[in-house]
């Protein structure tokens, strides 16, 4: 086969390949009239080149048919070019187009009867086979018609440029392509070129130029090349080409090596061809994917990873960090600002930005027209599109200016159940012409929004639950549990500096509730909580500590700051109550206690204790006070309190004596028990290091701890045998009975904690509350030891007294179980050292009345 013959096969084959490839690519892209017109044009090119190739190859059913196919394709090209330009310029000339179409239809029909090109036939000159034909004088008709049609197409293009609908630059690829095709076709009639397939070659060049023209107009994406159709064609034609070129060599090689299997040659070659095609397909797919789809795959992988990551977290902050990182990777050149909807106000508050330098201080109002528009669009959209919308007219000028200043180009709404939960604004990092975002990128952002919507939904549910667990439902302040954690965190943060604790307790709040109703009580609590949050601001954390108590942690603040804050709160409360607008003037005050680290407290527990003590002091000194805890002041206060308590106890001594006497009357064996317990417990409290005031409290608690037994039936008190479960239950009630009775004693309610806890056990198995360890007030723990010890060394109706040593051993055995180990050890040492005078009942002689046992 000569070089020319080979060229006449290879060039049309490449051209066919190119045309079919583009044809399938166009088919796989978005369909509209323009793409259809382009596909039709490629179809005519394909007819031309396929016909030419098959004619040269003299394939079945013969050159005559392939000639007709080729010449029909050739004659259709001018009209198809016109049709393509017609749609490309969006022209309106249906009559003209119809005339062109009909004229070329007639020309094609006439040409099939060899009116213009006559006597086409194949001739063989030497070893070269050529295609020859004659030309009728009538050929001038299709030539003139072609010139007219192409000029008309050019007129359409020129008019669209003149009217400003299109730029001339957009037609440049077409001009080049048509120019090459025209030159190629014309050169075919030159003697020097007759032996070269320039016409089919120029046809392929033209197709590529037109494809590029459409690509520039974003009508066909390049990645369409990587769709299955074009890849199959490439694989098929490549393997066919290999087969054609290598068949002869392979055939001889097969016969030489596998002559005995020559009957199977066709099968072997067919299988080999199939395998070759599959291999070619795989190679082509890998290549095109690597070239054209690499970015898309990277994006998909990024999105998948983002999806996995954000589904692992429920923290909003973590979510925002992940989203920010994702946007930094996937949207280079843009600064993204993320706005989340605030459930309370409905506004969209900026929660993050892909650039660290961008301050998160922006907000979009709930009634911003952009919000309604984005909600309706529900997809990634450009700001330019918004600026064309009717909603844009409702923007305030300063809102427009803000968007302009931010250079917002794209916007991504995040919708969950039809509600927009977030929006991301993408700003160009550099001023200049707005950039377009590919459809793939927009689709990726839409997918991101869908993933983010689910994650945000989960996070907001979690946030709501977490908030519920950390907040007091009525005042919306933090609750006690969260506050204690926060206080420890604040302390850790500020332990090298200072921290103050402010505890506020409303005075006589129960009375306020009874006077004005609990609804008013709730209202004032809420108002006060809100005011406190505002007054404290960013200086600290406010919480509701108990029903009528509020507490504020103020890291890095001095006691003076806390006092100032408390004074402001007091002023606010006074104004609020006075100006409540009601005819009856209300009255409500509070006591505030302040403790401060490092001036007066050494750790968190001390801060809490001393703030409580300061409040206590304020209450004791007439209420409506702000008191700063000071150790020296505390001493004076203790002394004063001790004196007042002692005076109080003295004034109540007759009452106390009467009550204890009443118990004695019921249970003879408990005679002097209360006195003994009071002495032992007070001694122990003193050894423990409590101040005089507390010691006096413990002593008085000892005196009163069993007065509840007045309500216990005598039969149970004096029972000699083991108590039944029911009797034991009744017996246990004496603790509540004691506290209930103490409430009736004027101003002695301070002994209640000690009395109430004297049957609690260190291990938590006591009663009535079952509290354990240091939760049990220190006074109660002293009473517990003293009470048990005296019970053991005293005679009871059901037992003889035990020896002191035996009792101490019993206590020792129960350290950590019933008794506070540290305190118990102190008590044992106190007794054994002889510093405590023990009142011991002597054992009765064996002949003593049995009834006493």
């Amino acid at each position: 086969m000569s070089l020319n013959e080979r060229l006449f096969i290879i060039v049309p084959l490449i051209s066919v390949l190119c045309n079919v490839f583009l044809f399938l690519t166009a088919l796989s892209s978005r369909k509209d009239r323009l793409v259809n017109a382009f596909s039709t044009l490629l179809g005519s090119f394909t007819l031309w080149t396929v016909g030419s190739l098959f004619m040269r190859l003299q394939l079945y059913p013969g050159p005559d048919l392939w000639y007709k196919v080729s010449i029909t394709g050739t004659f259709l090209v001018p009209f198809c070019v016109y049709n393509f330009v017609y749609h490309f310029t969006d022209s309106r000339a249906p009559f003209s187009r119809t005339v062109h179409g009909v004229a070329w239809g007639v020309v094609v029909l006439l040409n099939l009867h060899n009116i213009f090109i006559t006597d086409p036939h194949m001739v063989t000159v030497g070893r070269e086979t050529r295609f020859e034909y004659g030309i009728s004088s009538l050929v001038v008709i299709p030539i003139l018609l072609a010139i007219y049609t192409l000029l008309d197409a050019w007129r359409l293009a020129w008019r669209s440029c003149r009217d400003g609908r299109l730029d001339l630059g957009q037609f440049a690829p077409m001009l080049i392509g048509v120019g090459v095709m025209f030159a190629g076709t014309m050169s075919a009639i030159l003697p020097q070129m007759v032996s070269l397939p320039v016409d089919t070659f120029s046809c392929a060049v033209n197709a590529v130029c037109l494809y590029y023209m459409l690509y520039r107009r974003r009508l066909v994406p390049l990645r369409s090349f990587a769709s299955d159709g074009p890849m199959y064609v490439i694989a098929l034609l490549s393997s066919t080409l290999l087969l054609i070129s290598g068949y002869r060599v392979a055939h001889y090689a097969y016969l030489r090596n596998f002559y005995q299997f020559k009957d199977y040659e066709i099968i072997v070659f067919a299988v080999a061809f199939a395998v070759l095609t599959i291999l070619m397909y795989l190679i082509v797919r890998r290549l095109l994917t690597a070239i054209l789809l690499k970015n898309a795959q990277v994006q998909t992988e990024e999105l998948r990873q983002f999806s996995v990551d954000i589904n692992k977290t429920l923290s909003l902050d973590a979510l925002m960090r992940l989203y920010r990182d994702f946007l930094q990777r996937c949207m280079p050149g843009y600064t993204a600002r993320v706005f989340l909807r605030d459930e309370r106000t409905g506004n969209y508050v900026m929660r993050g930005a892909s650039e660290m330098a961008v301050a998160c201080r922006d907000e979009l109002a709930a009634d911003d027209p952009l919000i309604a528009w984005l909600r309706a669009r529900a997809a990634c959209v450009s700001y330019a599109e918004f600026s064309r919308s009717k909603n844009f007219r409702a923007l305030w000028q300063k809102e427009k200016e803000r968007f302009e200043q931010l250079r917002v180009e794209w916007m991504l709404p995040v919708l969950s159940s039809g509600e927009m939960v977030a929006v991301t604004l993408f700003s160009a990092e550099e001023a200049g012409k707005r950039r377009s975002l590919s459809q793939e990128r927009q689709a990726m952002l839409d997918s991101t929004a869908a993933v983010l919507a689910i994650a945000l939904n989960n996070a907001s549910l979690y946030e709501a639950l977490r908030r519920k667990a950390q907040h007091d439902p009525m005042t919306n302040l933090y609750n006690r549990g969260f506050f204690l954690e926060q206080l420890r965190r604040d302390f850790e943060l500020a332990h090298n500096a200072q921290i103050s604790l402010l505890l506020i307790s409303l005075d006589d709040f129960r009375l306020y509730n009874e006077l004005y109703g609990s609804a008013e009580g709730d209202r004032i609590l809420k108002r006060f909580a809100d005011a406190l949050v505002v007054l404290v601001g960013s200086r600290g954390t406010v919480a509701r500590y108990s029903g009528k108590e509020f507490i504020v942690s103020m890291p890095f603040c001095s006691a003076a700051d806390a006092i100032s804050c408390a004074e402001n709160a007091r002023d606010w409360l006074r104004n609020e109550v006075i100006h409540s607008g009601e005819s009856t003037r209300k009255f409500l005050t509070f006591c505030a206690g302040i403790s401060s680290y490092p001036t007066s407290a050494a750790n968190v527990d001390e801060l809490l204790t001393y703030a409580g003590m300061a409040v206590y002091s304020a209450k004791a000194n007439g209420k409506n006070r702000i008191t700063l805890y000071r150790p020296e002041a505390e001493d004076k206060r203790i002394e004063a309190n001790f004196a007042s308590k002692r005076a109080l106890a003295d004034s109540c001594s007759s009452t106390i004596y009467a009550l204890t006497a009443a118990i004695d009357a019921k249970d003879h064996y408990t005679f002097s028990h209360s006195q003994h317990v009071a002495e032992y417990a007070a001694a122990l409290a003193a050894v423990y290091g409590l101040d005089a005031d507390h010691i006096e409290i413990v002593r008085q608690a000892g005196l009163l701890h069993d007065i509840g037994k007045i309500g216990t039936p005598e039969s149970i008190l004096t029972k000699t045998g083991r108590l039944t479960a029911e009797e034991y239950t009744i017996m246990k009630q004496h603790v509540e009975g004691s506290t209930a009775m103490i409430r009736y004693l004027p101003s002695m309610d301070y002994v209640i904690p000690s009395v109430l806890g004297h049957h609690e056990r260190w291990d938590g198995r006591g009663y009535p509350r079952g509290i354990a360890g240091e939760q049990i007030p220190i006074g109660a723990r002293c009473l517990c030891l003293a009470d048990s010890f005296d019970a053991m060394v005293s005679r009871r109706s059901y037992k003889d007294p035990r020896s002191v040593e035996s009792a101490l051993e019993e206590i020792e055995r129960n350290l950590g179980g019933q008794f506070d180990p540290k305190l118990g050890r102190m008590f044992i040492d106190l007794v054994r050292s002889g510093k405590l005078t023990v009142h011991v009942d002597e054992p009765l002689p064996p002949d003593a009345g049995e009834h006493l046992r």
Binding site: D163, G164, R165, L166, D167, D367, P369, S387, R388, S389, K390, R393, A394, W396, Q397
Partner: protein, 547 residues
């Protein structure tokens, strides 16, 4: 991106959406935009001394509060700030001050500040009107760069004079004459040269005041250079296309024995008219030009406020230009009878079809006017237009309010001006009243019905003609805009009817109602004339009319 760039690079649907998308608004959406933007204006006003004057130290927090607390205003309420152009008193810095006729004479002009944002809206609205002027259906328009525009609107510093300056940065249009050239000419010269150029080169768009358009249509020959030699001279300068059209027009005119009409010479893409009495001229203009004119609503205070749609059968107000309130006819008539009465206003979604309303505007985007009575009366034609797919009310411009006589959109004559002219003229006139009427050519004029003092010795020597000429001289001398009417339109819009002395008093005595000095209803005028024409001995002699 300029409008021209958008035409090149964006699909027509996008351009339509951007500029004419407001026509797709529902009534609720429209009101939402109105209310949102008026609160922006309240916000701006609250921060400036002018606004504080109306808000009295407490800015309204809602539209309802704004309407309840801010009184209806007239230009007098702003004159001390706007006439001396005190920018520090305004809500936003103005970039241009436009002028318009106030009352003529001693109060010749009103001034209105325009902020950058207002101009932006103005531009967008003009371009929307241009698109609609060239449209034949929703979304179908034909605006092209390089189009030839004959521009026949009042020049700067009037609001219409801003059109070319606003349009030029957006799209290449060939104004005839060019904007620079026109600046050195009088309005009349500009119009005449424009027509001449249009005859030579053709035109695609025509912007004009209705009265001038109408005059030009009826006197095409004179505007284009006259007949005979002028035509020949004109033909030499014509483009081949215009020459062909002119020759065809002359041929058809001779063949059919009809005059040459503008439609024979020009194929317009768009035809825009503004000004008083447009509705009177519209049909005739459409017939003459072969394209129905698109009417715009606006003025110096509100800028371009409304436009017709592709159907050209009713104005739609732009939602972002002004906040609109409407005083029903019965309310402003009641105010005329009882000046102490404060008329009630209604919003766009509270109107009734077929009713006349006086317009009250609050200029948005930093404008100076709050609840301002422009003095224009519109009729609400319909509340929605299903044929065009409009859910918004459409209007027709009726006239100025009854106390103002607007002649051809040039001058606004009030009771004060007429009193001043009569005083200056020293004519011995007794009672009088004036109304706006139309002659057989459709031109409006001022008809003054006046009584001569019976006991004045000079009165017997005064004929109607002398009265009219005398008064006309004083009108021209006192009111510059009135003078322009004569100069531009060649008309003296004054007609005087002399009544018998005591006719007006007799009418009042008989009916118990006084005759309004300006804008008396037609039936009152007829009753007065009947009294005037009653036989001697009963109510007096015949009326004498002169023009």
């Amino acid at each position: 991106m300029t409008f021209e760039e958008k035409l090149k690079n964006c699909p027509p649907a996008e351009i339509w959406q951007e500029y004419c998308g407001f026509l797709d608004l529902s009534m609720a959406e429209y009101m939402q935009i109105q209310k949102r933007l008026v609160m922006e204006q309240v916000d701006l006003m609250a921060a400036c001394p002018l606004g504080q004057r109306f808000f009295k130290g407490h800015a309204p927090k809602s539209v309802e509060e704004f309407r309840a607390r801010v009184p209806l205003t007239k230009f007098q309420d702003y004159a001390d700030v706007l006439l001396p152009q005190r920018e520090e008193m305004l809500p936003a810095k103005p970039v241009v001050w436009l002028h318009t006729t106030w009352e003529g004479g001693d109060f010749p002009t009103k001034r209105a500040p325009y902020t950058e944002a207002m101009l932006e809206t103005y531009t967008r609205n003009i371009l929307a009107a241009m698109i609609l002027a060239t449209s034949h259906g929703k979304g179908q328009f034909h605006v092209r760069p390089g189009a030839r525009v004959l521009y026949s609107l009042a020049p700067m510093p009037y609001a219409t004079g801003m059109f070319p300056d606003l349009i030029r940065p957006q799209i290449r249009l060939r104004f005839m004459p060019s904007v620079e050239e026109a600046r050195g000419m009088s309005f009349g010269q500009q119009t005449k040269l424009g027509y001449k150029m249009a005859m030579q080169q053709g035109m695609n768009l025509f912007f004009g005041m209705s009265s001038i358009l109408y005059g030009a249509t009826r006197n095409l020959d004179s505007l284009s250079g006259g007949g005979g030699g002028g035509m020949l001279k004109m033909a030499l300068g014509m483009s081949p296309r215009m020459l062909w059209r002119a020759v065809s027009a002359v041929y058809r005119s001779h063949r059919d024995g009809t005059p040459i009409r503008p439609r024979d010479l020009f194929k317009l893409d768009g035809f825009v008219c503004v000004g008083t009495d447009t509705s009177l001229y519209k049909n005739e203009l459409a017939e003459a030009w072969g394209i129905r004119p698109l009417e715009l609503a606006g003025g110096t205070e509100p800028s371009c406020m409304g436009t017709e749609t592709w159907s050209k059968n009713g104005l739609v107000f732009f939602p972002d230009d002004c906040f609109y309130e409407f005083i029903p006819e019965r309310e402003y008539m009641r105010e005329l009878e009882d000046p102490g009465y404060t008329p009630r206003t209604y919003l766009m979604d509270e109107l009734v079809a077929g009713q006349n309303y006086e317009l009250v505007i609050t200029v948005l985007k930093g404008g100076a006017f709050l609840r301002y009575r422009v003095g224009d009366v519109y009729r609400c034609l319909r509340l929605r237009n299903p044929e065009d797919g409009l859910d918004l009310p459409q209007f027709e411009y009726i006239d100025r309010i009854p106390t103002v006589i607007d002649i051809a959109g040039f001058t606004r004559i009030t009771q004060r001006e007429i009193e001043k002219v009569i005083t200056l003229s020293r004519l011995p006139l007794g009672g009088w009243f004036a109304v706006k009427e139309y002659n057989e050519e459709g031109h409006s004029y001022l008809h003054l019905y006046a009584e001569l003092n019976e006991d004045d010795e000079g009165a017997a020597a005064l004929t109607r003609q002398i009265l009219q000429e005398h008064l006309s001289v004083y009108f021209r001398s006192y009111d510059g805009d009135y003078r322009d009417l004569k100069r531009l339109l060649g008309m003296d819009p004054l007609m005087v009817t002399v009544l018998k002395a005591g006719t007006i008093a007799a009418y009042t005595a008989r009916t118990g109602r006084s005759v309004q000095p300006v804008g008396a209803p037609r039936e009152v005028v007829l009753d007065v004339l009947r009294l005037n024409e009653a036989p001697a001995g009963q109510e007096g002699g015949g009326a004498v009319v002169a023009q």
